[in-house]
Symmetry: C2
Subunit: 258 residues, 2 copies
């Protein structure tokens, strides 16, 4: 199986936009967008190691996908690879970053500063990947006023004000399920248009707002499903586990990624 994150999230738009906005980039398939992040990480890792060019094949293994898929994905963004050689690591990396809109150093609001919120805030890949936590909100008096890397934790009452002033359009919800919808409504009212939701709830939002959710219980349950089936089988026929991609990665790569 695959493995890697899946998710399909829903982008909430109802009416699609057949008409290209003011666009330069043509439509990139959703599945491809979801993988660009993986490629980007692999590329960053390669760059740190001083690699200048990389073939679709080795980049693919590093990212845990197969090479045909990788090439097709890159072709969607009008990639510039060189036949017989491969891709220029830093060039491709920049290209992907631009495509994902990461060159704008986007401001993100973090709502909920409990364990999960703090874990997210401390997540290294945050700042290093084009995101900046511009606001932190909670309701706990113990937390309010504390600072994290220059950002002060504000009370939920000031949510709208803070979000508006910092021109934040992306928010991460890391609050208990019971208050998630309320928080969401306030964020939307304050102008947030993209939400990453960690609370186990289906959020209702207007159609111009995008919600992606990360559902821990669901992930575990999916694992559980496969696991419970595995236990009824003999060792000789379990292909139930890893994907082809992963099998390849086992051979070629453990340790390569960092």
């Amino acid at each position: 199986m695959t493995a890697q994150g899946d998710q399909l999230s829903q982008v909430g738009e109802g009416a699609n936009r057949p008409s290209l906005p003011s666009g330069e980039q043509r439509d990139i398939p959703e599945a491809t967008v979801a993988r660009l992040a993986l490629y980007l990480r692999a590329l960053t890792s390669l760059a740190e190691r001083g690699t200048a060019t990389v073939s679709s094949d080795s980049l693919a293994t590093a990212a845990g996908v197969n090479s045909a898929k990788l090439r097709k994905d890159l072709s969607h963004l009008g990639s510039y690879g060189v036949r017989g050689v491969g891709y220029d690591v830093s060039l491709l990396s920049q290209h992907i970053q631009r495509t994902l809109g990461l060159d704008e150093n986007r401001a993100v609001a973090l709502i909920g500063f409990g364990h999960l919120g703090q874990a997210l805030a401390g997540y290294a890949g945050f700042a290093s990947r084009g995101f900046r936590i511009a606001a932190i909100i909670d309701t706990d008096p113990e937390l309010i006023g504390s600072r994290l890397r220059g950002v002060t934790v504000e009370h939920a009452d000031r949510l709208a004000e803070v979000v508006r002033r910092a021109q934040i359009s992306i928010a991460v919800i890391a609050v208990p399920a019971a208050v998630a919808q309320e928080v969401c409504d306030r964020l939307v009212a304050a102008g947030v248009t993209s939400i990453l939701n960690f609370a186990p709830t289906v959020l209702g939002v207007p159609e111009h707002v995008d919600v992606r959710k990360v559902d821990l219980a669901a992930e575990l349950q999916i694992l559980s499903f496969h696991d419970s089936r595995k236990s009824h089988k003999t060792l000789s026929n379990n292909f139930v586990g890893a994907t082809v991609d992963q099998r390849m990665s086992v051979v070629a790569k453990s340790g390569v990624i960092s």
Copy 2:
């Protein structure tokens, strides 16, 4: 909207759970499995509210999918709905739980007890949904020996021993990326066959092991992609004050959902 999962599954033959007399749930599409968790949550919520039966239509809205999809999903597990009436809430709920293997109260190992690990451990939906944290592992001397709901935090050196003794087959990796592969290898060696990985790394595993990953940076980047495109299209209208219609739809939906 949503899309989720990729994952190619292929469950080999269909010997089912021996304990089930009539169960012939074989070949459940991966996409369906991923949604069962959502249905289960919605059903639980309905049950708490005392609802006895529910139509595919309202269950679908509660879970955030459309009703045709829901019905097809349920049909894959040989569901027992009643035409003209709907589904029996508690019956369906039990059926899904069995299908996901949640009736076995599965033991899970949590590796890494930093902020993320603690957030996961404190996650309510954990115990309440068929999972039991049977072991917690870390390397920080400050943490080792502390207890959480009867489980003592053990040092990583004892990982194999602890995992083997508790017969754990599912583990959650919540450690820094740099050590994730090593932890993974040890888990596999100790007999773990299903892993939920929060570290931003591609894990190499043998083919009989299933890995799912939750990639925070990737999620944000996907949001960023859509968000950056939206801003081009909406330059002219600032939704800092969403229209009344939009707000109302928020209100209306939120009432329906939980």
